[in-house]
């Protein structure tokens, strides 16, 4: 990469990092506010029915070092979170952050893997459709993509589980990664396949990439390239392929993380989505807060990467 190309990226990176930090601060405020407004106070158990405004209650808070104002509590909580202390799970008593790191990796594998799978399916279809225009096969593929994106992911999961267990007799399904089996790595592939197919990302990627690529292929500079015999693909790649693909990928990360909640439930996959589900059942506040913060951090990171790619392709964007 030329040096002149690094400068705008550095400028954008600085700006986007600041925006990301600001947004994550906002995320922490939202998460804290939801839990702050939640009925019930953990101290009530300790106070055995004393009014929370009573002298005794205030005294107990003081003794325990619990700040009495909302901003005091928020500040104390945020300071702890920034030091990596997300509190302990109410259900298991384990510290939240190491647990999150353990299961977060699984969710990351699931979502990134499914993105990769979606790309492998969607890109050939979209490129073929953009280059060849409206043919019967392309229309059929588009309709199929619509239908597939409306399939409930949990039901699709059952079909896949049934086929693999009953018909093919393979994959250590529903056993998690607790025991290492000879083909344990294959176990990763089934949920990835299910999430990658039925999360709705497939149809949207095909539609967006096809639209953008056929728009770019109709541009004047492509016609020029074609006329002088230059490779069209190389000229259309950045604007017609790289930008739309990264746009959709970063926009779809939240949906994939939401879909992961369901897929992890279906496949007993030890990930963040299952953790969130368990925490919502148990009202395990520290865990669900941690999951929400980490998920938002995932989303913002994806967005940041997309902005960087966009600036590298289109340095003018840094001056906007």
């Amino acid at each position: 990469m030329k040096f002149s190309a690094i400068l705008p990226v550095a400028r954008v990176l600085r700006r986007e990092l600041a925006v990301t930090a600001l947004l994550l601060l906002g995320v922490s405020v939202v998460v804290f506010a939801v839990l702050y407004l939640a009925p019930g106070d953990p101290l009530n158990v300790l106070l055995e029915g004393q009014s929370p405004r009573s002298q005794l209650a205030l005294g107990a808070r003081e003794v325990l070092g619990v700040p009495q104002t909302w901003y005091g509590r928020y500040g104390a909580w945020l300071a702890k979170v920034l030091q990596g202390n997300f509190g302990n799970s109410i259900r298991t008593g384990l510290p939240v952050l190491p647990e999150l790191a353990r299961v977060g990796v699984n969710t990351l594998v699931l979502t990134l893997g499914s993105l990769l799978f979606t790309l492998m399916i969607a890109v050939p279809i979209a490129v073929h459709a953009a280059v060849n225009g409206d043919t019967a096969g392309n229309t059929a593929a588009t309709v199929a993509a619509y239908v597939v994106s409306a399939v409930p992911v949990f039901w699709f999961g059952y079909i896949v589980v049934y086929v693999f267990i009953n018909k093919l007799g393979m994959f250590p399904l529903l056993s998690g990664t607790a025991t290492k089996q000879p083909h344990a790595w294959l176990y990763f592939l089934v949920p990835i396949f299910v999430l990658g197919t039925a999360s709705g990302t497939l149809a949207e990627l095909i539609r967006h990439l096809r639209e953008e690529l056929s728009r770019v292929l109709a541009e004047d500079y492509i016609r020029t390239a074609r006329a002088k015999g230059a490779p069209v693909w190389r000229h259309a790649f950045k604007e017609g392929f790289l930008i739309p693909v990264t746009e959709i990928m970063s926009a779809k990360i939240p949906f994939l993380l939401g879909g992961a909640v369901i897929v992890e439930q279906v496949f007993n996959w030890p990930g963040m989505g299952r953790m969130a589900w368990q925490a919502a059942q148990d009202r395990d506040f520290p865990v669900i807060m941690g999951v929400a913060l980490v998920a938002a951090a995932f989303v913002r990171t994806g967005n940041l990467l997309q902005r960087v790619v966009f600036t590298m392709v289109n340095p003018r964007a840094s001056k906007e």
Binding site: F154, W155, E211, V261, I262, A276, R283
Partner: protein, 297 residues
């Protein structure tokens, strides 16, 4: 009277053809299927609301457990307790219909307000609204909903408020984009020059005359989202609880039998979800192609 309707792309492409002749066949098929689904959902909702069901959805026919479709008396078969699937499917619409309307109302009204503020007023307000939109987009919606469930033991209406709020940025974005497009046109300037009050310009000339198609489309797509959220949550065990039927908990209830090879009790509600979500999505996209000139091939 000939009505000149703006079709595709930049300013100045108008067509005098009536809508139905102008529309592409594909869009007509999409909208036709969508309207069919909408009519079925509405009719079934009313049937469920008045209690005109083909069978008692709670009556267990112990001699007819997991009956196949076309069994005598049960055209769609029965579930694992011998309850009539057709009646339960119809009643399952109650679980999402009114909550879905609430989510749509919030996202359309809230999104319009934010969109007008950002597009018409602009300035620092637009910056604040963009920040708010990015903030909402940072959360995976299902995880935000699980957070709210954990905090408030939220029921389906409270969850749909969250769905509505998270749907606001998209509508706001579209409205703001539309306004910045309309601002290049003379009629807004003319309206200002005539001294029309801002609320007339916004409500009549912008929202009613130029954004209503967009809002209908957003509402349609919003219903698909609401159904997806409701069925996912009741599948996860957070929405409507047994014995009250919801399509999501029906899929969940049939799951064990599915893995034993008895597909129907789980598949019937899953197909209902599939057909309905597809219907609302196609209705939205078809209308988008017909009314907004957005080509989606």
């Amino acid at each position: 009277m000939r009505r000149y309707v703006q079709t595709a792309g930049p300013i100045g492409e108008f067509s005098a053809l009536p809508l139905l002749q102008r529309a592409e066949t594909r869009d007509l098929v999409y909208v036709g299927y969508g309207l069919l689904v909408l009519a079925l959902v509405l009719a079934s909702y009313l049937l469920g609301a008045f209690g005109w069901l083909p069978d008692d959805p709670r009556a267990m026919h112990v001699d007819l457990i997991n009956a196949a479709p076309f069994s005598p008396g049960h055209p769609l078969g029965t579930d694992f307790l011998g309850r009539d699937l057709q009646a339960r499917l119809i009643l399952g619409i109650q679980a999402y219909f009114l909550p879905g309307l609430l989510a749509i109302a919030i996202s359309v009204v809230g999104g319009s307000v934010l969109g007008v503020l950002a597009g018409y007023r602009g300035g620092w307000l637009a910056v604040v609204i963009t920040y708010f939109a990015n903030l909402l987009d940072s959360f995976p919606r299902l995880i935000l909903i699980l957070l709210v469930i954990a905090a408030f033991k939220a029921d389906i209406y409270a969850i749909m408020v969250v769905v509505g709020i998270t749907g606001m940025p998209e509508t706001a974005n579209l409205i703001a984009g539309k306004i910045s497009f309309l601002r290049q046109k003379n009629f807004i300037e003319a309206a200002h020059a005539l001294g029309l009050p801002a609320h007339t310009v916004i409500l009549k000339h912008i929202l009613w005359l130029n954004c209503r198609a967009l809002l209908v489309i957003q509402a349609t797509l919003g219903m698909a989202e609401a159904i997806l959220v409701e069925t996912s949550l009741s599948y996860l065990g957070f929405g409507v609880q047994e014995p009250t039927p919801s399509w999501g908990n029906m899929v969940q209830a049939g799951a064990n039998y599915f893995l034993q090879g008895n597909f129907w009790p789980s598949t019937a509600p899953a197909l209902a979800i599939l057909a309905t979500i597809l219907g609302f999505q196609l209705l939205g996209d078809g209308l988008n192609g017909m009314l907004e000139g957005k080509r989606r091939r």
